[in-house]
């Protein structure tokens, strides 16, 4: 039965392929019928400015586009713009305070009207409206003004020099929306425009036919799309709901769907599904790193309100020898094998990508070295006590290690606890529901920002390709505390004036090579402090049917960034 079905599908695909083969790249738009995509977390809206969730951004990217996007290698590619402005081609002002984009000529919205610079100006106003609660506001940080010089020219002026000016209106998270459609939807009125939010008019390869929030979206090919013969698919069914395992099953085992997103499931299960031969698992590595943060401040409950604040340094985690030993004791390759499979690789850097920014100075961590770890502790004066736990001056190496509730993370915790016990470090494990842990409620004692533990583990990343803002997270001023309502991204409370100086230097450096060198130096500074122990460079895992061609999964933009090129293959 199954073989027969596969055979029929294959022969049908051959027929389609041979029918299209003679054309010169200008085959008919919509020739390949329907492509079915499943995102097990269903999109809630198609306006990425009102949500910020990945699922909304990715589904909206079929319709809404930005000036430039990142391809699957992280390279910036002009999209609605004719070219990427640089200082060399005069698009970026020599003093780095403004950038001027030129739109491609003849781009039309799906309703037939022309895309103009005014739409870009409107998008900026829409997102920066103080009453709107725009989720992508940070993309417009430092933007003083956006103006339409003429119909096709957009000039973005910044408050000061901006060495990396490709944030506003670049990438899938800040696309251009149509001014005519959203004119009455600014500020507090934004949520009232349900029709516009659920069916934005765009310039992308598809238009929305029907949107059922948190359930399903139907798209059809955009007849106004600027590239002839694209997209190859006439329809897209974008289904949401269920869980990662069943999404994987629907592509790899039953063949009901063509593409499934975010399949972080047991790697053995995924491999056995893939073995069925209906589809292929792909991984895209971006900047996500699963890491341990070592609290540099004292989390003891006895300190009361001063817990995990800069008032008191941690009794032993500020000793980099301890951090170094903890790092050396971990067999990262085994963690990848047990929990991540194709979705992870070993890393020794908190900044693992893009390649130009990745340091190689710390690669020693890739192999486990238990004996070495013991020696480091011995040399630093941490001697094993009667109970096997090392101590120095009455301070025992006993840590509370917390993370969010998640099967893979609990496996990693158990393994790491075992390795640490072998080098004489006592570990107590704790896991907290993800919505609490990441919830950021200042009243809750269990958030990752409050960090009422010695060590915590989670994944963080940055979007886009420029690490400047990300690396600035570890400035002294970013340390969370009661005064800032526990806001701040320097979770491990790392503070080094030399590091702050590097951050300042980067914000005034424009040449890409110099920026890369600075980023590597910052990465190495943090690695040498052992306040962060990187574990796994995580990728986005997706699966696509073998009959689906043209998929180039990317973690730098949406996974569906090149859906206009997707097509059926035999």
């Amino acid at each position: 039965m199954r073989k027969l079905k596969t055979l029929l599908l294959a022969s049908a695909a051959v027929a389609v392929a041979s029918g299209a083969a003679f054309a010169d790249g200008h085959e008919k738009r919509g020739r390949d019928g329907e492509v079915k995509i499943i995102y097990w977390q269903a999109p809630s809206t198609l306006n990425p400015y009102l949500s910020g969730g990945t699922k909304e951004v990715e589904s909206a990217s079929l319709v809404l586009e930005s000036l430039a996007r990142f391809d699957n290698t992280g390279k910036m590619t002009p999209w609605l713009a004719a070219e990427v402005p640089t200082v060399e081609n005069g698009g970026v002002a020599a003093d780095l305070t403004s950038i001027t984009w030129k739109l491609k000529e003849g781009v039309k919205w799906s309703d037939g009207s022309a895309l103009t610079a005014n739409d870009a100006v409107f998008t900026w106003k829409y997102c920066t409206d103080p009453a709107g609660g725009c989720a992508q506001l940070s993309y417009f940080d430092g933007v003083k003004n956006v103006e339409a010089v003429d119909d096709l020219t957009i000039k973005i002026t910044f408050n000061g020099p901006k060495p990396f000016p490709y944030t506003a209106l670049v990438g899938s998270e800040s696309p251009i929306i149509q001014a005519a459609q959203f004119a009455d939807c600014t500020g507090a009125k934004a949520p009232e425009c349900t029709d516009a939010n659920f069916g934005p008019i765009g310039t992308g390869p598809f238009v929305v036919d029907q949107f059922k929030p948190n359930d399903v979206i139907q798209f059809s090919a955009n007849e106004q799309y600027r590239e002839p013969g694209k997209p190859a698919f006439g329809k897209v069914l974008f289904k949401g709901g269920g869980d990662a395992a069943s999404a994987a099953r629907s592509v790899l085992e039953t063949g009901e769907f063509d593409y499934a997103w975010n399949l972080q499931i047991d790697p053995k299960l995924l491999a056995s599904m893939e073995a069925k031969g209906l589809g292929t698992v792909q991984t895209a590595f971006g900047t996500s790193v699963e890491r341990l943060h070592l609290n540099q401040t004292d989390p003891s409950a006895s300190l009361g309100d001063a817990r995990s604040t800069t008032d008191k340094a941690h009794p032993f985690l500020t000793d980099s020898a301890v951090g170094q030993a903890l790092s050396m004791a971990i067999d990262r390759a085994l963690l990848v094998e047990v929990g991540y499979g194709a979705g992870g690789q070993v890393t020794c850097n908190v900044l693992p990508a893009p390649a130009a920014y990745a340091s190689t100075a710390n690669d020693g961590c890739k192999t486990q070295d238990l004996e070495g770890a013991k020696k480091v502790l011995d040399d630093a004066g941490w001697k094993p006590g009667a109970d096997g736990v090392r101590a120095k001056d009455g301070v025992r190496l006993s840590v509370l290690y917390q993370t969010s509730t998640n099967a893979v993370r609990q496996d990693s915790q158990a393994l790491i606890k075992q390795w640490w016990s072998e080098i004489g470090v006592e570990t107590e494990l704790r896991n907290i529901d993800a919505s609490v842990f990441f919830g950021g409620d200042p009243a809750s004692p269990d958030t990752f920002q409050k960090f009422y533990a010695d060590i915590e583990m989670y994944t963080n990343n940055f979007s886009g390709v420029d690490p400047e803002a990300y690396m600035a997270n570890w400035r002294c001023a970013e340390i969370p505390g009661p005064k800032s309502q526990w806001q701040g991204a320097n979770i491990q409370r790392f503070c080094d004036p030399a590091y702050d100086a590097l951050v300042d230097k980067m914000s005034g450096t424009a040449a890409l090579e110099d920026r890369a060198a600075l980023a590597k130096e910052m990465n190495d500074t943090i690695m040498r402090s052992y306040s962060i122990i990187p574990l796994i460079h995580r990728g986005g895992v997706s699966a696509h049917a073998n009959t689906l061609g043209g998929v180039k999964i990317s973690d730098w933009d949406t996974e569906l960034w090149n859906i206009a090129d997707w097509h059926r293959v035999k």
């Binding site: 809630s44 992508q136 349900t194 659920f198 929030p213 069943s246 806001q487 701040g488």
Partner: protein, 334 residues
Amino acid sequence: MLNYTIRRLFLAIPTLLFISLVIFFLVKLSPSDPTANLPLTIPPEVREKIRESLGVNQPLFVQFGLWLKQLMISEPLYWSNQIFGTNFDIGQRIISYQTRSPVMDIVIQRMPQTLTVVGTSYLVGILIALPIGIISAYRQYSFFDQAGTFVSMIGFSVPPFFSGVLVIVIFSVQLGWLPSIYDTTHVVTDWDSFVVQFKQMIMPVMVLALQTTAQISRFLRASMLDNLNQDYVRTARAKGLSEKVVVLVHVLRNSLIPVITVIALGVPAIFGGAIITEQVFKVNGLGQLLIISIQAGDVPTVQTLTFMFAVLIVLFNLVADVLYGLLDPRIRYD
């Protein structure tokens, strides 16, 4: 009876208000943050602005009062405008944190798929339960009764997240007969599309029906057993009535009285959807809406949905009581 019904309806109002207050504080006081599931790349200042625009930072009683006003005034006025063409100034309707669109629109959009799947399963479950219950009682301790008991025990004890995945693995993955994912965009227009609809419904319906069957067939069996030993049954047999008439007319009618009230009490659960089964088969009805809203900290949606369920439960409790009085002349409320 009418007085009784009216009195009960009035009593329901404070009950419902109290229920909604309890739900509100349950959701609000549990750690939930509508921005918790956003990527960590979104900075805290932006999150704070999002929370502000959602109104999460207002005092709790203001939020509750606003929701109550929207539910009691804005929504009825909106529907009056829609249906009767009136032109009231409605103010803001109940807006979901997740979709930023009116909650009631989503509820109405999802009602059909929930009613189709869960409603059908309830009907199918009852239809299967009736003969099983009757035969099991009439032939107590026979092989059929033992088998029926066994099936009921499975229905009671096997949760749908197991049985659902099991049938998917058998019928979708191994045999490839049925789709594992419910297509909510499918429209029935002709015989072929009906077959498709039938195929995609059969697994979720049967998984749910198993549970309904288990419950109702046990009730009916017990109720039949009670009646079969009554004097009036012996009298009927002594009068020379056939076994068929004795069992299916005299005994069954009397045995159904408690069962019908059980069935009535189960109706609100149809609207509540089947949270787990909907997730397993991606039916994406009201149950799935409730669970993802809870996960996303979407208080207005959770609040509105649970309130609707509360109304239905209160109403169908009343219906069950009234039915009892109508079916059994010995019971009088006035």
